[in-house]
């Protein structure tokens, strides 16, 4: 049985004349310990899948099962202890007036964890920041350091599943490598399950064993990493994405 099962997910935003059908029957399943990627361009609904899964977007149809059990709406405390999310923009995802200490201890307080001090320090160590960062404010950190804090926050409730919404797209290339390595290491050490959303095929191919290509709220196709690397795709859209992600190719007719 898969850890995450999403069947025929439908999401509609707004009502009346301004209805936006963001997801049209999206299904996917992720095994425990697996890393699953969702690729697509803007407006494809890739982030909406994550947001619907964790209750930030309204589900209008279909089912979401975690461990075979349908999730409740609103989600209960047990859900949040199993599933956590890392957001795209490290500059927007940390409260500007809260110290790192508060960011990390608040979830512990909400869920009544013991040994809070020790857990906060351990979480900072695990993401490679160390105790010196504990009482800083977000504006004293760089983008990469903020994203490490966001990862520490997601990990502090010891979840099994982490939803990653473009976790490195706001970061410089060299910082992206560090964050991807950190995510890789944490998955190994803790046996985490990832669902990673990205517009960057290379990032998904590096991080995920399986992936799904989305367009206009629908699934184009599902591929394994090997199939992607072998360019074994049957869909034109995926092929276009692959070509485009290899950089610019000059039109031979214009070569002078």
């Amino acid at each position: 049985m898969a850890l995450i099962d999403i069947e025929d997910l439908e999401v509609v935003f707004g009502s009346g004349g301004r209805r936006v059908h963001a997801l049209r029957g999206v299904s996917l399943s992720v095994e425990e310990g697996e890393s699953f990627g969702i690729v697509g361009e803007s407006g494809s609904g890739k982030s909406t899948v994550l947001r619907a899964a964790c209750g930030l977007a309204p589900v209008t149809g279909g089912r979401i099962l975690i461990d075979g059990k349908q999730v409740t709406s609103p989600r209960d405390a047990a859900f949040y202890r199993r599933v956590q999310m890392v957001f795209q923009d490290p500059y927007a995802s940390l409260h500007p007036r809260h110290t790192i200490d508060r960011v990390l201890s608040e979830p512990l307080a909400i869920h009544g964890f013991d040994r809070r001090e020790a857990r906060v320090e351990q979480a900072l160590d695990e993401v490679g920041l160390g105790k010196g960062f504990r009482f800083r404010y977000p504006h004293q950190l760089s983008g990469g350091q903020r994203q490490r804090v966001a990862i520490a926050r997601a990990l502090i409730l010891e979840p099994k599943v982490i939803l990653l919404d473009e976790p490195t797209s706001a970061l410089d290339a060299s910082i992206q490598a560090e964050v991807l390595n950190l995510l890789d290491r944490l998955r190994d050490e803790r046996g985490l399950t990832y669902v990673l959303v990205s517009h960057d095929l290379a990032v998904v191919s590096h991080m995920c064993e399986r992936l799904m290509v989305m367009q206009n709220g629908q699934v184009v196709e599902q591929l394994t990493r090997e199939a992607l690397q072998a360019r074994a795709t049957t869909k034109d859209y995926t092929r276009n994405l692959l070509t485009a992600s290899e950089g610019f190719t000059r039109d031979p007719a214009l070569q002078t």
Partner: protein, 275 residues
């Protein structure tokens, strides 16, 4: 052939509590009628370099140079009137986000025609605007002329923006991350338009980007900037032969679809690169 643009020892400083901080520290290069890429990470000073060439350094900053010459015109102490006659007409800039660069309460057509009129040629303004929109591969130029910026998609808006910057047929275009806000497939289309304009009209293009791969496939020559300095200048085709450890590190730390290096090599910054 004399270069279109010469920059020598360009420095840009901003005041801070600890005294002035130099964000660009002695950048020199020459540009012919070619595609020059400037690559760097955030804070490398690449955008400020681009803005300084157009005299668009923020008022709090101070830009100085030993030489800043565009087609024989000294830009260092150009008067506001001089800048007005140059900007738009002979040198233009495309920014990252079209939403901030287009006037939201004016139709695209009106903005385009205004740009044409400002630099002469009132009578054929409309024809010229339509032709330009066609040139940037907008299929239905009449409809886009009548549209407001918010009615266009990101890619369409960026194309309209490029059309506006190019309708006066400038000799130099500075494109600061012109495609970073766009999807990859759209990005390639927009670049194709820029590419054709360079080869057909003999325009000089400075392409500023953080995306090393894109720049190396699109440009002729690449400047790699780090902490306000050019650390390496390369032929775009010879990117793999880069010498400087920073450039090599930047290339190495990108994940590749076919690569399976795990963990990814991480860029180790060396204090000596600052010198």
């Amino acid at each position: 052939m004399s270069p279109l643009l010469s920059v020598e020892n360009l420095r840009i400083a901003f005041p801070s509590r600890q005294g002035p901080v130099e964000v660009v520290r002695g950048v020199s290069f020459e540009l012919g009628r070619e595609r020059l890429g400037i690559v760097g990470e955030s804070g490398s000073g690449k955008s400020q370099t681009g803005r300084a060439i157009l005299g668009l350094t923020p008022v709090s900053g101070k830009a100085t140079a030993d030489l800043l010459e565009f087609d024989g015109i000294d830009l260092r102490d150009a008067t506001p009137a001089k800048w007005r006659s140059l900007r738009g007409a002979r040198m233009s800039m495309v920014m990252q986000d079209p939403k901030f660069s287009l006037n939201p309460v004016m139709t695209i057509g009106k903005q385009l025609m205004e740009a044409v009129k400002l630099h002469g040629g009132k009578s054929e303004a409309r024809d010229k605007s339509l032709a330009m929109l066609e040139a940037v591969q907008i299929r239905d130029p009449e409809r886009v002329m009548a549209a407001y910026p918010h009615e266009l998609s990101g890619g369409m808006g960026q194309r309209a923006m490029i059309a506006m910057m190019l309708v006066t047929e400038p000799d130099l275009l500075i494109a600061d991350e012109p495609t970073s806000a766009l999807d990859v497939t759209v990005q390639i289309e927009v670049l194709r338009i820029l590419d054709r304009l360079v080869s057909e009209r003999g325009m000089g293009l400075i392409f500023i980007s953080h995306d090393l791969e894109l720049v190396s496939t699109f440009c002729d020559r690449v400047l790699v900037m780090y902490a306000g300095r050019v650390v390496e200048e390369l032929d775009a085709a010879k990117m793999s032969e880069a010498q400087h450890p920073y450039t090599r590190g930047l290339i190495g730390c990108l994940p590749k679809i076919n690569g399976d290096v795990r963990p990814l090599p991480v860029l180790a910054r060396d204090a000596a690169w600052l010198e």
